[in-house]
Symmetry: C2
Subunit: 221 residues, 2 copies
């Protein structure tokens, strides 16, 4: 009955992966500590252990980077996290913005077979409820190119693939007007005056402010 192998380590890997991909700056001990909301001493200790396990490298300037091995593991966690999110939303009727903490727990369940079966059960989803792509078993992930709806071409079929803002207010607003990730839309017209957009969605016409449209990310072929 041994519980959880390196539960924490997985959090470090995932956070490191996210920081490497999202930030411009190098990831140092302080940055990682802040992201993990842990004490720098704690993080330093852990990073050293992970270095010994060949999961990270510590460069001369103290930058912390994932090794290939670390990256692979990190992508596995990301994969689990996103698949569980799909499960929670598609099967248990959670909202997009409610699933993060639960997925954070579920991602640590240790079984590749389970994850594989989950993927099959969910019908091989390619993106999670936030529109982020789901890595395959080998950690390969399609880079999805997106653009804000405000920059997309008129009269083209577009799909909302992600949100630039996941605040409660925004999600509720989208709920109200009937839009969600995966929705097929088409820009009908842009109002010169205030840049508001008139779009069509399921035969309905919806008017969006420039601000709202800016946070709707659509596919870019």
């Amino acid at each position: 009955m041994q519980h959880f192998a390196h539960h924490s380590e997985e959090n470090y890997l995932k956070t490191l992966y996210k920081l490497e991909n999202k930030q411009i700056k190098k990831v140092n001990n302080i940055a990682l500590s802040k992201a993990l909301e842990l004490n720098p001493a704690t993080v330093l200790e852990m990073v050293r252990r992970m270095n010994e396990r060949k999961l990270v490298e510590i460069l001369a300037d103290k930058t912390i980077i994932l090794t290939d091995k670390g990256k692979k593991k990190a992508l596995q966690i990301v994969r689990r996290h996103r698949l569980w999110e799909v499960f929670l939303v598609d099967k248990l009727s959670y909202k997009w913005n409610e699933v993060h903490d639960l997925a954070e727990q579920l991602e640590h369940i240790d079984s590749d077979d389970l994850v594989k079966r989950l993927e099959v059960f969910l019908g091989y989803p390619s993106v999670d409820p936030h529109g982020d792509p789901i890595p395959d078993e080998n950690g390969k992930m399609k880079k999805i190119r997106t653009q804000p709806l405000t920059e997309a071409p008129l009269k083209k079929k577009l799909t909302i693939v992600a949100l630039g803002n996941s605040s409660d207010e925004f999600l509720k607003y989208l709920d109200k007007i009937g839009l969600k990730i995966g929705a097929a839309v088409e820009i009908v017209e842009v109002e010169d005056f205030d840049k508001s957009l008139s779009i069509s969605h399921k035969k309905n016409s919806i008017i969006l402010s420039k601000e709202a449209a800016d946070h709707l990310l659509v596919n870019m072929p």
Copy 2:
């Protein structure tokens, strides 16, 4: 990012609950240690902590028993475990005998809401894949009375509700002859010579040895 509150404690509670219900003997430190596969010193320490938390009582003769509070918590874990088992079998196509370890992990996911939604999603199952009843939110559980098929009455509609043996071989055998938990059967005849049974199932006739029938538990009204 604080992980898991009292992950171990949940294992102690569940194990204690099972021992109290399955065993005739009083549960002492040694018995609990053996069941948990942990050192007696470890268990003693933990049991004391749980005593302080009012989850268990330590009687004068050193018997360890769950308090009402402890029992309630234990039943919650049992509920989670069994619901996850249903999920794994019904939705992810696992076999009855493959799900225990995974459910052991999943049962620690900390969210009552998730468990509730899971229950709804699974259609309010009343028993897990092994035929054990699933407690409701308040810990109430129907006691299912069972009897071996060998002791059940002839020519009555019976349902296989549990197995007296969960070995791989037995499960494979059942698979082969088309029987599983939930199956409706009826005893047609008992052979005097070797006590083998002829039963009907889905319009087919199946011959079972006494030994096999002994391990098939059916409902007892």
